[in-house]
Structures are given as structure tokens and as C-alpha cells.
Symmetry: C2
Subunit: 413 residues, 2 copies
């Protein structure tokens, strides 16, 4: 019998009524002849409440204990979910991460999955039971409870789908799929039927927010078909899958903005080997995540070094830069925290010309100045003034006809 993994987020299991509605989705799949494995997140604001309880006792709680604490939220969800299924007449059994031996590394609060005891789950499915697994959590080799980072239940679900060879991993959420861009900003934003892992990875890491980035990576690596769909409306959502030829017909499949970004420029750094490494080592030691590094020579001896960070890391980044700047003979440091990044993503870029011109042209026509440009194989990002960010996204979305993309994409096969 084919297996389906269904993942329900915190809002989908927030109260008894919502758990019952989610249970109906599970029962539909069972009645359609599937063996079903359910992954659930902590109910509603449960995780936030537990974090608040922890911070009240300790402003800097030990991460092992924080993981131990937070893991309880998902355990509560799945045991309650099992009770709802039992009440509806369906046999169900819930497991903690430890019980199915979801083994991770020991990096508390952002652990990575190493292996899963799929046999234990198969055994219960074989007995005709619906299996529920607490998302977001695992154990390390020593039996310490770990968590996968916020949104980690997506990763739990995709990893289980991979381990079980599931036909599909359904991610139930409060939107009806992946959109070409943010519908709150560009009204015409279209829902896509299909998107490639690579495009989804770019969109997720640019803050499109629907899926946990590592879940998409996992799906790509282990070839798991991921279906992002609404927990409220009963209709198909967006399938995240391997690239199919038709995808290249669409040059740009999506566009995003990332606000809350800051840009730091180190002006006049001594242009000698090892100086850039020193700067980024200092930033890494301060746990600052850096993107979009640009280095330009300004003379034979001097170079300017600039990079983008999240504003939440700004204080730590400034401190790190202050400490290192004399060491690399930096003449001055320039910080901007009023920027945003507009990006377009699409696997079609690999084979089509003119994307950059079209993007720059659209921004120029809307009178939006571009501060910096970075690119990947399937992405172009422009740093713009934060106040113009929404206008920039609308201009770009119109230029690339993001209200039409869904129709052009190959339908689910």
C-alpha cells in the first residue's frame, strides 16, 4: 500500500476544532487507500509560550534544556491528534522523536537529521494504524533531545517521507500553495501548480516563508514530492518537485522582497591575502549570517568590502567589525539599515538572456535606484531603499508577468 505523509502546522492543530478538521484530512487519505503518517507542530502559540517561560527563568537558557522543554509542544499535539482519530473510530498511535529514533547530530536548537527507524513506523502501519510523529525533534547518539530549528516540522515530515519511500509529502498550511510573489503586495500574484526544488530553495531562503529551507533541501536530495496545500480549502496546492523541461519556458517563476536587511561597507581595507578571511571569521565567531558579499578594488593597495546581513544581527556585526577593522587597516565603516532586497528567481534564467536588463529596466522605469546587485545561477537580487521595496516588487512582478506564471507551468501530471 502506498504511504502518504501529512504535515500540519501549529495553526492547523491550535484547538480541538482544528485538530478534528485536520483529522478529517487524514481519514480521507485512509479511505482513499493510503497508509498515512502524520507529522504535527506544537499547537498555536505553545512554543512561544514555552520560550517566554524559559526566558523568565533564564535570559540565556542552556540549549539542551531549551530543546528538552520545547519538544513537549509537538508531543502534546500528536497525542491529542491520536485521541481525535480514535474518537472518529480510527486506530492511531503517536510517537516522540526519540521513540522512532529520529537520530540527529548534537547541535541543539538546530540539529540535523542523520537517520530514522522507519521499521517501527512500518510495523504500526502494517497493523492498520495511523502513525503520528511529533515534528521538530530528534535525539542525538547519547539520547539527548534535540530540535531542528523553527519550522523544523517540515523537515521532519520530508525526512519521514524519504525514509518511508512515501508517494507524497503533503504540507498543510494556511495558504493555498506557493505564489509567484507576495499576494499582499502584488494583487495578481498567481499560485503555481509546480515549482522546482531549486527555485523553492531560492524563494525560501529569500524569506518567502512557506517552507522550511532545509525541508526543501531534504526533498531535493531524497527525491520527495512535496505538496504544499491549504488546510482549509479542499483543493490542490503547489507541487515541489524536480525540474521538468516545461519549467524552462518560464524565465522568472517568482519574486520576493526581504526587508529588515542591513548593509555594511568596509572602506579602504588593505588589499592583501587573508584580510577578507579575517573579517568574515570575526563575523562567523559572532554568529552573524552574511549574504551578498562584494569586494571591489579601489587602488593597488586598497579595496572596499561590503555585505548584507539581517538587521537582527546588526549589533553583533557592528561589534565584530569594530574589533577587526584596525587589524585589516580599514579606513572607515559605513552602515545602512534602511535597505531591502528584491529578487527574481527562475530555472529558466539558465537558458534565457535578458533577465537582468528587464529587471533593471523595470526598476529604472519606476524610478527606483539600485544600490547593489548579486546573482546566482537562477536568481538576481537588487538592494534598494527600504521605502521603495513594495513599489520595486510590484514593478518587477508586472514586468515578468507574475500574474500569469501559473497558467504557463505544466499541470500536475
Amino acid at each position: 500500500m502506498a504511504i502518504i505523509v501529512q504535515k500540519f502546522g501549529g495553526t492547523s492543530v491550535a484547538d480541538a476544532g482544528k485538530i478534528r478538521r485536520a483529522a478529517k484530512r487524514v481519514i480521507e487519505a485512509v479511505n482513499n487507500g493510503f497508509e498515512v503518517v502524520v507529522v504535527a507542530s506544537a499547537r498555536g502559540k505553545q512554543t512561544d509560550r514555552l520560550i517566554a517561560d524559559a526566558l523568565e527563568l533564564n535570559p540565556n537558557p542552556p540549549e539542551r534544556e531549551l530543546d528538552q522543554l520545547l519538544s513537549t509542544g509537538e508531543i502534546q499535539s500528536v497525542s491529542l491528534f491520536a485521541m481525535a482519530l480514535d474518537a472518529a473510530g480510527y486506530e492511531a498511535i503517536s510517537f516522540t522523536g526519540a521513540q522512532i529514533r529520529m537520530i540527529t547530530d548534537s547541535v541543539h536548537t538546530k540539529a540535523r537529521i542523520k537517520s530514522i527507524d522507519a521499521e517501527k513506523i512500518r510495523e504500526q502501519l502494517g497493523k492498520g494504524k495511523i502513525v503520528l510523529v511529533a515534528g521538530f525533534q530528534g535525539i542525538d547518539e547519547n539520547g539527548n533531545i534535540t530540535t531542528l530549528g523553527r519550522g523544523g516540522s517540515d523537515t521532519s515530515a520530508v525526512a519521514l517521507a524519504a525514509a518511508l519511500g512515501a508517494r507524497e509529502c503533503e504540507i498543510y498550511t494556511d495558504v493555498d500553495g506557493i505564489h509567484t510573489t507576495d499576494p499582499r503586495i502584488f494583487k495578481g500574484a498567481a499560485r503555481m501548480d509546480l515549482i522546482s526544488y531549486d527555485e523553492m530553495l531560492e524563494l525560501s531562503s529569500l524569506g518567502a516563508g512557506v517552507m522550511h529551507t532545509r525541508a526543501v533541501e531534504f526533498g531535493k536530495k531524497y527525491d520527495v514530492k512535496i505538496h504544499v496545500r491549504s488546510s482549509i480549502e479542499e483543493k490542490e496546492g503547489t507541487i515541489i518537485t524536480h525540474e521538468v523541461p516545461q519549467m524552462e519556458d518560464v524565465v522568472v517563476s517568482g519574486a520576493t522582497i526581504q526587508k529588515d536587511m542591513a548593509k555594511i561597507d568596509l572602506i579602504g581595507v588593505d588589499n592583501k591575502p587573508g584580510n577578507a578571511a579575517k573579517v568574515f571569521a570575526a563575523l562567523a565567531a559572532a554568529k552573524v549570517v552574511v549574504s551578498d558579499i562584494v569586494q571591489t578594488e579601489v587602488s593597488a593597495e586598497k579595496a572596499n568590502l561590503s555585505f548584507i546581513i539581517s538587521t537582527s544581527d546588526l549589533r553583533a556585526a557592528k561589534e565584530a567589525v569594530e574589533q577587526i577593522k584596525d587589524d585589516v587597516s580599514c579606513q572607515s565603516v559605513f552602515v545602512r539599515d534602511d535597505i531591502a532586497e528584491v529578487s527574481v528567481v527562475g530555472v529558466g534564467m539558465r537558458t534565457h538572456y535578458g533577465v537582468a536588463e528587464k529587471l533593471f529596466g523595470a526598476l529604472a522605469k519606476a524610478q527606483i535606484n539600485i544600490d547593489a546587485i548579486t546573482t546566482s545561477e537562477i536568481r538576481i537580487s537588487c538592494v534598494v531603499n527600504k521605502e521603495q521595496a513594495k513599489d520595486a516588487l510590484r514593478a518587477v512582478s508586472a514586468a515578468f508577468e507574475l500574474d500569469k506564471v501559473a497558467q504557463d507551468r505544466a499541470k500536475r501530471g
Copy 2:
């Protein structure tokens, strides 16, 4: 280094302030040179809330899932407690029942402990850490989470003290120790410095409520010194220990009343082998806990059978009796739900005469009618009218001078 186990109940860890206060007790013990293992219950009304959540989804939740759900409350308490200790500068590590392999049988919601991995705890104590263990929970041989029944954290604590060879198991509670009788009813009720396991078992099973009965049994079996003391006031409480010679000087060490009792009489049951067994088999099948069985012959062919139950079991008991009564040729069934049971307990009874007379005399003088009498080696119980229960307890407490008992008992050595 000597080990102390400290157990804190739900009210002692209900909020951040209370957890900090409990942490101070732990730190005191550490500073006094002890290795400390802490057992905590779920915070405040957490367990009640989780049960309510469960019942909202399923009026009859599967017990395995209920155990899975409820176990999270204690895990939250110990991880938060560890954070509080860390904030105070003390290294601490919390464990779930599963992590220290608190192996139980598979009787969900009232499992019994079979073994504990004390080595894992000793290893952490050896590293200078305070070890916290989630109370109330274990796992069965298959890794399913079990719970030990309400109040089971007492049992977790005493079992850990036994497994670790701890010097003492401290039970922190909102009263300052064990009293000769209920201070709310008999004002002069004295706190005892010492009480024997057997006396405590009788008092606990009679509803004196301070300690979980099975914890006391465990203490007796494995020779664990249990110290019941106040989590608020810093003074010695009551030591529960093996009988010491001085104890016999006090004939009656405590008195209790159990309200919410009912009495069922089966009148004119055929007096032949197997009939009593049939009645109690039917009651057992209906999960009714029966105490104080009395059978009296009324003729060569007929006998009357009576027993005491809790009023919460009354409906189930009546149904069971209705089903079996024709089978044992019972002529009529008589039910009273307006009764209470007054008991006196004391190891001194074994060697002293006249306890029964004194008890009956005290009740007669107070014009309280005795409905039924049952005895054990160290206990005498009288069934009385519920309305007279408090008067009965006061009369008995005065007759046996329960305001003086504590002074007569051997002081803690």
C-alpha cells in the same frame, strides 16, 4: 559523597517565582556537600488542563496516548527547573523517564516501576551536576511512555532514592509534615517527628493524602528514609522510617476520616462456596475498589455480605451487583451513601490492650452510633453517619490525646 533526592510537587513549581524558591532548597543541599537529584511534578494545574484538552477531543481517550500527553507536564517542569539552576550558576541536567530508563510494566495510567538506570544519573552527579528527573513517568519494555498514577512523582522520587542509595528522600509539600489528624477538624492536631512506614501506609490509604501510598510501600521495601517537609518554611518535617522501639509507647499515632464512602449490603445471599467470589469478581470487572468486607451468617443457608466503596464507584458497583444478585440468590440489596469511616492507626496497638474499648467509648460518649467495625493489625475503623464524621474525629482525637503525640515520639536522631 552522599546523595539526597528532593521532590517538589506541582504547587512548588507552579510559576517562575516558585521554581526559583525550590531551586534555593536544592542549592542549599549542594552547598551542604550533598549530590542532589531533583524530581518535579507538572506545574500547577498543567495536568488538569491537559486532561481537559484530551476529554474535549475524546471522552474516553486511549490510555497509551493519555500517558504520552500527560508525561509532557513533568518534562516541562524539570527543564525549566534546570534553567533556573543554571541562571543561579549551578550546572544542571534534566532527564525524562525514558532517558534514565525508568522501566515500568505496561499498565498505562498506573504503571509500576521495575528498574532504573542509576548509572546514567551517577555519571552526571560525578561531573558535579545537579540531576533533575521528570516525575510520574516511565517507559515500558517497548519504549511506550507510561505514567504511575496521580501523585506518582512521590513514587518516582522514592524509587530513585532507593536505586541511588540516597541518604534521604525529601518530599517538599505545602504542609509542614504528617499530622496526627486533620488540623482543619481537630485544632490541636500535632505534627509528628517520626512515623513508621506501616502507620503511614494506613494513613495514606485512609485518605490522609500527604503521600502517595505506593511511594511509602516502596520506601518500606527498599528502606528509604522519607522526609516530608514544607516547601515554604525552613524547618524539619516528619521522617517516615522503619519502626523504632519508642514508637510502641504511643498506642495511637494518628486518626483519619474518609468521607465520600458508601456501603452496600447484600441481604440473604445463598451461603455456599463461590458466591462471595462471584460478587467480588463482578465488582472487580467493573473496576470497583472494595474495602472492609464483612460476611455474617444469618441462618444455615443464608448470609449477609457487606462492603465499603468510594461514592465515585457507586454507580458502577450498583450495576455490577444488580447483574450478579440473582445468580447468588440475593434476597435484597441495601445501599447507604451517607456514611464515613473514622480510623485510628498506630503500631503500638500490636502490644497494647484496650484500644477498641477506648475508641468505642469515645464515640459512645459523643452519642455517635457505629454502623460497622473493621480492623487490621495496626488500625481500627468504624463506619459512622457522614453528618457525625467530624464530631467523631474530634472525640477520638481527644480520647487518644492526638495533640500530644508528637512530643512523645522519639526525635529525629
